[in-house]
Symmetry: C2
Subunit: 374 residues, 2 copies
Amino acid sequence: MSSTEFHFAVEKRDDQSHARLGRITTPHAVIDTPVFMPVGTAGTVKAVPQEQLAELGAQIILSNTYHLYLRPGHELIRDLGGLHQFIAWRRAILTDSGGFQVMSHQGLRKISEEGVTFRSHLDGLKHFISPEKAMDIQMALGSDIAMAFDECTPYPSTVEMTRISLELTSRWAARCRQRFKSDRQALFGIIQGGIYPELRKLAVDKLLPLGFEGLAIGGLSVGEPKNAMYDVVALTANLLPDDGPRYLMGVGTPEDLIACVAMGIDMFDCVLPTRNARNGCLFTSRGKLIIKNARYARDEGPPDPSCRCYVCRHYTRAYLRHLYQAGEILSAILNTYHNLYFYLDIMQKIRQAIASNTFGECKRTLLKELASLV
Amino acid sequence: MSSTEFHFAVEKRDDQSHARLGRITTPHAVIDTPVFMPVGTAGTVKAVPQEQLAELGAQIILSNTYHLYLRPGHELIRDLGGLHQFIAWRRAILTDSGGFQVMSHQGLRKISEEGVTFRSHLDGLKHFISPEKAMDIQMALGSDIAMAFDECTPYPSTVEMTRISLELTSRWAARCRQRFKSDRQALFGIIQGGIYPELRKLAVDKLLPLGFEGLAIGGLSVGEPKNAMYDVVALTANLLPDDGPRYLMGVGTPEDLIACVAMGIDMFDCVLPTRNARNGCLFTSRGKLIIKNARYARDEGPPDPSCRCYVCRHYTRAYLRHLYQAGEILSAILNTYHNLYFYLDIMQKIRQAIASNTFGECKRTLLKELASLV
């Protein structure tokens, strides 16, 4: 552990599952886990001012190295005091390394041992990112938690392709660890290995000795069947050190969060609550609500009768439907606020339940609610 | 005066100009004048939640009859308890009659004595709005202040065209007054007459006897030279009754507000602060700031160093530029908040100055500040 200001401690364990209550200490925030991190790709959680994020109780948000590198540039952000200062967010930030975004550019990128050459989605200009550069960028950004630069193995991939990919990721991980020097930033490694148990084990074996402050499970939620995802999470979480935080990248639905907490996951991020909000899909305690549906045109009820967020206390489904139909910005603002409240509230309930030895009951209740139709 | 819950009183007059401090009482709010009304066309002031509007000190907002009639429909809004209830705004609302919007549909509308046939900008379907229908819609919406249905005379128009147009508007005004019945809503008439002093006078003479609770000056800010606009406002304001509110429609810049308050105007609305915000133009005490300019890329200062709004207290020009360049929703949110704060703050300063007999000095200071370059 090279970062002196980063600590993780398990505070309590559930008797009936692998769920655990923990606490991550970073220079900018103490984060209670299990935690959901809202995604703020380009230095803003879309449609939510930082004041409201804090009001929602977010202790940590995720930003994206690839996007910030391209615009406005990591050197500009460094010169202006780092990402926290630049975006006026005083709590913790995790930066994704950009590996996932770079790899997503099918046909626009070329992978070599050295790194990845790709074209910007903004202007088509060529860029090259190596593991070292990904570290330099994240050191410039000054996030509390940086991520190693990995190759996100696509789904489906053969066992051989997956092995080759994870071995590259492992060599890159060593180069990342070598390059990354910071007293105020932690570095997490990323476990790849697709849907193959033996390869997930191999990836853990390769990354463990590198001494990352935390380990993430990557390469999931990329098209594989839900059961395969759950199997890999259960298996991999079990292989990860008990005394370090376990981060499941890019997952998932409220049901996924609950299920994966039970498998021992501590950290989550996902665009679902924010992206779905902009597309008019609200998460509620009674399942998903597609606000554009005509049935809500005259519905005077709140989006979620069980929710205490300001959107549910003040606005009706009829008004939210109108805003969505009219393409109004307020639609994105209110829907996003509610969905983030919903996600963060679920995590809060989960933490309280683990603390009070009622996680099993909490899990059953939440899953039953989520399965009901609005 | 048929509305029993509507009152206007002049509280104080400036010695050196026609500026006056007043108070409008409506069922939903007591409004200190001179007042600026943020524009919430489709039942939302774009990019601002109602909580923030209240926090900004807005006592009254404007909504648009034409837009709400087309979507979601005035009957739906009436059935759901009226516009205040529908949009969850507890303070006052003024509804524009839709005349301006209908007239703007060049080539899509046909005007007759009876009313206007036009095609919806949403789906191309034919609609007909008469003065009576415009009143019925506004009664269904339940706004605190409704506007008579008028023909907004285009600029330029010959004196003869303008006379014919204002005479139609006057006949329509009488039909509006006749139709409009409400104890909780006031009805304002609209003075047309283009840039012709004698026609403005004629319009006032025709509308005065109808007993509107307030009178608005319409047909300005439609392309005429600024001096012509000022001349018409000065002349017309002087013709309007001293004991009723005077509303200048669709005007204007901060400079316009200051100048027209001095001419005796009590109420303003304009899309400038909100629309400009979305286009990256910020109003500041040192003039307009075009946030996309490269010179702000590394500017760590607040948008307006003299401003106390939360945007200026928390965010930098560099960040606001980044948000604009990245097309982020937060750009519209923060820029709009600041611009509305700026407009409402100017009105607050104006009211305080009139109250303390320093309006002349306040006017000079504000205009000097606004003329300086950022």
